[in-house]
């Protein structure tokens, strides 16, 4: 168990008849970025807030930094930092005043200047919180989560609703937290984000973890491997490749070939060239967490993209 900063066994949280969290088991290693990826209502916030001691589990044992969530919440709170979902701090205080305020509320604190540096907000320190863009607001939230120099930082959907550029800026800050040796627990419904940032992740749906490992291992286990798409390829192309022992199929106007090994790609190109068959272009795609989710649940992770 050494190195596990969080240990969760058989966690269940019920709201009436609804099982918001339905028997999850997992652990988080020291210094890693651990993500919980899932659609709306999956139970991400419930899981995270139980670890933060903000909600009580219906059953299960949860250990954070060696402390029991049920009995030693006070100790845990000193050592964790949280960014609640859809967090908004005081509108009419400046960035610096907001950080100062929460700093004063904790017994232990990092100098505000250091936090401003950490989230790259030096130029905005005197701007009212309400006048910041969404991305900058989230950075203030992260700075506030760091104010007590926590060992574990929980970020509940820090990038939801941000434009792609602002999202990337938040990613940089998360990477930076990891570099500082913090353990980061992140929830998101963007698979790309989970894949890029996480050391390990769980895919959550209807209160259950349906996959739990490193992104690579999850994709390897549940994904379809590598896919070659021949755009506007004909049925003749598909049949020709099938004759070569490839796993191909015509989907709408494209030919999809699932790769078994690297040599398959050479076969495809050779066949296309020698036959002179018509096609637009050839794309090679690795399967993603989105595909894994679709495969495991029959649903898309993010409804409209």
């Amino acid at each position: 168990m050494a190195g596990h900063v969080i240990e969760v066994k058989d966690l269940v949280k019920r709201y009436g008849d609804l099982k918001a969290v339905d028997g999850t088991n997992f652990h988080v290693d020291k210094g890693e970025v651990f993500s919980i990826l899932g659609p709306n209502g999956a139970g991400k916030t419930t899981t995270v807030e139980i670890m933060e001691c903000l909600r009580k589990p219906t059953s299960g044992t949860i250990n954070v930094l060696g402390f029991d969530v049920a009995k030693e919440a006070r100790e845990i709170r000193k050592k964790v930092g949280i960014l609640p979902q859809e967090f908004n701090t005081y509108d009419l205080l400046t960035v610096r005043e907001n950080i100062d305020y929460f700093g004063a509320m904790f017994d232990r604190r990092i100098p505000t200047q250091e936090l401003l540096d950490a989230v790259n907000l030096n130029e905005k320190e005197d701007v009212f919180y309400k006048n910041l863009s969404g991305g900058l607001k989230q950075r203030v939230g992260v700075a506030i989560a760091m104010v007590n120099d926590p060992e574990i930082i929980f970020l509940d959907e820090p990038t939801t609703g941000l434009d792609p550029k602002a999202r990337r800026e938040v990613w940089d800050i998360i990477r930076d937290l990891k570099k500082r040796g913090k353990t980061v627990i992140l929830t998101t419904h963007y698979m790309e984000e989970a894949e890029i940032l996480s050391d390990r992740l769980a895919i959550m749906n209807d209160g259950k973890f349906i996959a739990y490992d490193t992104p690579r291992a999850i994709i390897k286990e549940h994904g379809y491997g590598t896919l070659c798409v021949i755009k506007s390829g004909s049925r003749a192309v598909a049949d020709m490749l099938k004759a070569q022992g490839l796993n191909c199929e015509l989907k709408e106007n494209d030919v999809h070939c699932w790769m078994q090994n690297k040599a398959d790609l050479q076969i495809i190109f050779r066949q296309l060239e020698s036959s002179g068959a018509y096609y637009d272009e050839v794309l090679v795609k690795r399967s993603s967490l989105e595909d894994v989710f679709l495969r495991l649940t029959g649903r898309h992770l993010v409804e409209e993209v």
Binding site: E49, E52, C53, L54, R55, K56, R77, K78, V80, G81, I82, P84, Q85, E86, F87, N88, T89, Y90, D91, L92, L93, E97, Y101, F102, A104, M105, F106, D107, F128, I144, N148
Partner: protein
């Protein structure tokens, strides 16, 4: 408990208040607008419309003094009616709205000291002016009683004392405005801030800090008290500048304002706890404060309301604040003021305790 944290929280709250121009404006302007509007309406009516018909059946000295007191209030025009006139017929024939009958034994009862001396006030309560007239009559009666009980052996009514307390509608009205301001300020601020901080996650954030719910609530209550005193000062200043009010600021009044703030802060906490979101909390706050605004004697004296409404008023905390403030700031009736202060203090403890106990920062 750490005072430091409370002070930090108060300082930040003050800063945000000053930066919120709208909040600053309404804190000072709302009560002032009320006074200016009502003051203008009622002071304009002073000269012509407040006629009190008086039938004096008492040959003695005190009835004359009493009538002199009514006259010196400056608000009423006294019209004497023959003592052998039939009261019911007279009222009917002359469309009288307020008629005061002083019985023959008035002086006897007053000087007796053990007997209660009655006067009878007949009013058409559908008329707006009737409440003003009854307030003034009550004020003079109160004054009389004070003066009388002050010197039991040698009973004399010093008309000078009555002149000093020369009451007008605005005098009666100002304490009501103070109560009303305390109520709306505290209830709406508290339910607003609680629902807002719940939905923005500030409470969830605070609950991971050593700052406790109790410390936070204490900071809120202190802030509310400070804010209401700012309003009260603006009310009194405007009252003095424009309307020549005759209020005395007493320790009881100050304690009563503090207790009232706590009552309504607690009420705001309770309302927001039982509401789903900010809008419904706001609606609930309106539903609860609106009847109190009109039935607790802020605008009209309670005595002028039908008796079933007076019964309803008895269960409204604002009633005790308004009555108590009038007792101490206008009538100088310490005994009644202390009673109302006591009721308010008990309510303050109860409401704050319930509010603190049930308020929540997190889901469960």
């Amino acid at each position: 408990m750490k005072i430091d944290r409370i002070l930090v929280d108060l300082k930040v709250t003050g800063k945000m208040f000053i930066r919120n121009k709208g909040a600053v404006f309404w804190t000072f302007a709302f009560p002032v607008l009320l006074i200016l509007i009502f003051g203008a309406i009622f002071s304009g009516m002073n000269d012509a419309t407040y006629t009190l018909y008086v039938q004096d059946n008492d040959p003695g000295l005190y009835s004359d003094k009493f009538i002199a007191g009514l006259e010196e209030s400056g608000v009423l025009e006294i019209e004497m009616v023959d003592s052998d006139a039939n009261v019911t017929k007279y009222i009917k024939d002359n469309s009288v709205t307020s008629f005061l009958v002083i019985p023959a034994n008035f002086t006897a009862n007053v000087s007796n000291g053990t007997q209660v001396a009655y006067v009878e006030l007949l009013q058409d309560q559908t008329q707006q002016s009737s409440s003003v007239v009854s307030s003034v009559v009550n004020a003079v009666v109160n004054n009389f009683n004070n003066v009388l009980s002050g010197s039991v052996e040698h009973i004399s009514v010093d008309s000078g004392a009555i002149v000093e307390n020369n009451l007008s509608y605005i005098d009666l009205f100002l304490p009501g405005i103070i109560g009303l301001t305390a109520m709306t300020n505290c209830v709406f601020y508290m339910q607003g801030v609680q629902s807002r901080y719940y939905s923005t996650g500030i409470f969830r954030k605070l609950s991971t800090t050593p700052f406790t719910r109790f410390e936070w609530l204490l900071s809120r209550a202190l802030w509310q008290i400070a804010l209401v005193f700012m309003s009260v000062i603006s009310i009194i200043v405007v009252g003095m500048l424009f309307f020549d009010v005759h209020l005395t600021i007493t320790i009881e009044a100050i304690l009563m304002i503090i207790a009232g703030c706590l009552v309504f802060t607690g009420l705001g906490m309770i309302i927001s706890r039982f509401s789903k979101d900010e809008e419904s909390a706001n609606a609930a706050a309106s539903v609860i404060t609106f009847p109190m605004m009109f039935l607790s004697g802020s605008f009209f004296a309670l005595e002028s309301m039908p008796s079933y409404l007076q019964t309803i008023a008895k269960v409204m905390p604002l009633t005790y604040m308004n009555e108590g403030l009038r007792d101490t700031m206008i009538y100088g009736n310490a005994e009644s003021a202390l009673f109302n202060l006591g009721v308010l203090a008990i309510l303050a403890v109860v409401f704050m305790a319930i509010g603190t106990y049930i308020s929540k920062w997190t889901e469960d």
